[in-house]
């Protein structure tokens, strides 16, 4: 686990349940826009995570062994924006190996698994495995 992810988990764990929703909404609001250079690919539908019901797009970069995740997710999917936003921040500059080891129980560690319910948790694990797959491809 990266240091930044540990910090984010600590922030969530120390917050009361009702405040976690506000923390997720804040992250959804601050989700960064997709860099201009990926706009055209996005318009062509490339990078789409087909496993996810929301329109989630990933454009991962691996430069000199360091990962940077770019993503585009519409405002109508604030939960995915918040969760992917956490991954983008927690794994910025990390190694592809670190991404391959994203904790499978991350949502439980963040204390938001009960809020999401089983099916939404499965949807998120689909997003994580697609991200790991695309970063493994980009680094090979």
């Amino acid at each position: 686990m990266t240091d930044r992810l540990r910090e984010i988990i600590d922030e969530f764990q120390s917050a009361p349940d009702e405040f976690r929703v506000e923390m997720l909404l804040e992250r959804a609001r601050q989700f960064p826009p997709l860099p201009e250079k990926y706009r055209a690919l996005r318009e062509k539908g490339l990078g789409r995570v087909h496993e996810c019901m929301a329109e989630v797009y990933f454009f991962p970069e691996v430069k000199d062994g360091a990962v940077r995740i770019h993503s585009d997710i519409p405002g109508e999917a604030p939960t995915q924006r918040a969760l992917v936003g956490i991954l983008m921040e927690a794994y910025d500059g990390a190694s592809p190996e670190a991404v391959a080891q994203i904790p499978p129980d991350l949502l439980r560690q963040l204390g938001i698994a009960p809020l999401l319910g089983v099916q939404r948790q499965q949807g998120f694990s689909g997003i994580v495995s697609r991200l790991q797959h695309s970063i493994a491809e980009a680094s090979s």
Partner: protein, 287 residues
């Protein structure tokens, strides 16, 4: 909208905007795929009902009990005679799912706002983050109405009788090829394919690009002419967990007037795991 079999269950964004203040008689409910979406902004006086946290039992794979449904309505200030209008994201998938659940508990006056949340937003109408509270209501619900819900044994018997069924998942899920795609999460089903005899009409074919339902003529062209389904015969709709199929259930029952349509909410996550359940793969005409 007037051409539909039961046009009164579908209301326009205009109708809703004129009834938002009538909280004594009308309750507007937002139901979404995304659990945080309501909190980012919703219709004035609209309450939030989440399909998983509010409508499903947390332990048993089933819906809430009649008592819990009564408590939900009581909390939302809904009486037995309240007009309940549902809207949501994803072309009203979850709105239809909540509508179906309310119908199962016998709520009389349920409606869908055509076009859902996306149409309201596209029209630039007012949204708020204020969460309304209403005086709690006494609510007396009926025992669940299973005439609109199919269980696995019902589906098995229906299949053996050669009854008509519609699988509303994507063609890839229906054909059964998704189980063979590398790196594709299985989302809880051990086998791919479809229930023998089911036709494949992805739910989205019933919706236009703006999320509104297609016209009756367009819907008849798909379900009656192309698929040859008969509105007078028993019908079952299913998908993966029963949400997309509640959208098609709504279309068949209320817009096209099918007389007896049930939603199989166990859907593929039950059938695709059921020991011994027959499965067909590929296109129907290949079998």
């Amino acid at each position: 909208m007037s051409d539909y079999a039961h046009p009164d269950v579908l209301v326009s964004t205009d109708w809703v905007s004129h009834h938002l203040a009538d909280t004594a008689n009308v309750r507007v409910i937002e139901s979404n795929e995304d659990i945080l979406l309501y909190a980012t902004g919703h219709l004035h006086n609209a309450v939030h009902v989440d399909w998983t946290n509010d409508l499903q039992d947390p332990d048993v794979r089933d819906y809430i009990s009649t008592k819990q449904f009564e408590r939900l309505c009581s909390r939302l200030g809904i009486h037995e005679d309240t007009t309940v209008v549902f809207y949501g994201d994803k072309s009203n998938w979850w709105a239809c799912y909540a509508f179906w659940t309310f119908k199962m508990f016998g709520h009389k006056d349920c409606r869908i706002m055509d076009g859902g949340r996306a149409k309201w937003v596209a029209e630039g109408r007012v949204m708020t983050t204020d969460v309304p509270t209403f005086e709690s209501a006494d609510y007396d619900a009926s025992e669940p109405d299973t005439s609109i819900r199919a269980f696995r044994d019902d589906v098995m018997n229906h299949m053996k009788d050669g009854g008509q069924m519609v699988d509303v998942r994507s063609p890839q899920e229906y054909i059964g090829e998704v189980t063979h795609m590398a790196g594709y999460p299985q989302e809880g089903a051990l086998r791919g394919g479809h229930i023998p005899g089911a036709s494949n009409v992805p739910w989205s074919r019933a919706a236009g690009e703006d999320g509104t339902f297609k016209s009756r003529d367009e819907l008849e062209a798909i379900y009656l002419e192309e698929q040859g389904l008969n509105p007078k015969e028993d019908m079952i709709a299913y998908c993966r967990i029963g949400e997309r199929s509640s959208h098609t259930w709504f279309v068949l029952k209320y817009l096209l007037g099918f007389e007896n349509v049930r939603n199989y909410d166990g859907s593929w996550t039950e059938w695709g795991n059921l020991v011994g359940a027959p499965i067909e793969k590929g296109e129907p005409d290949e079998n």
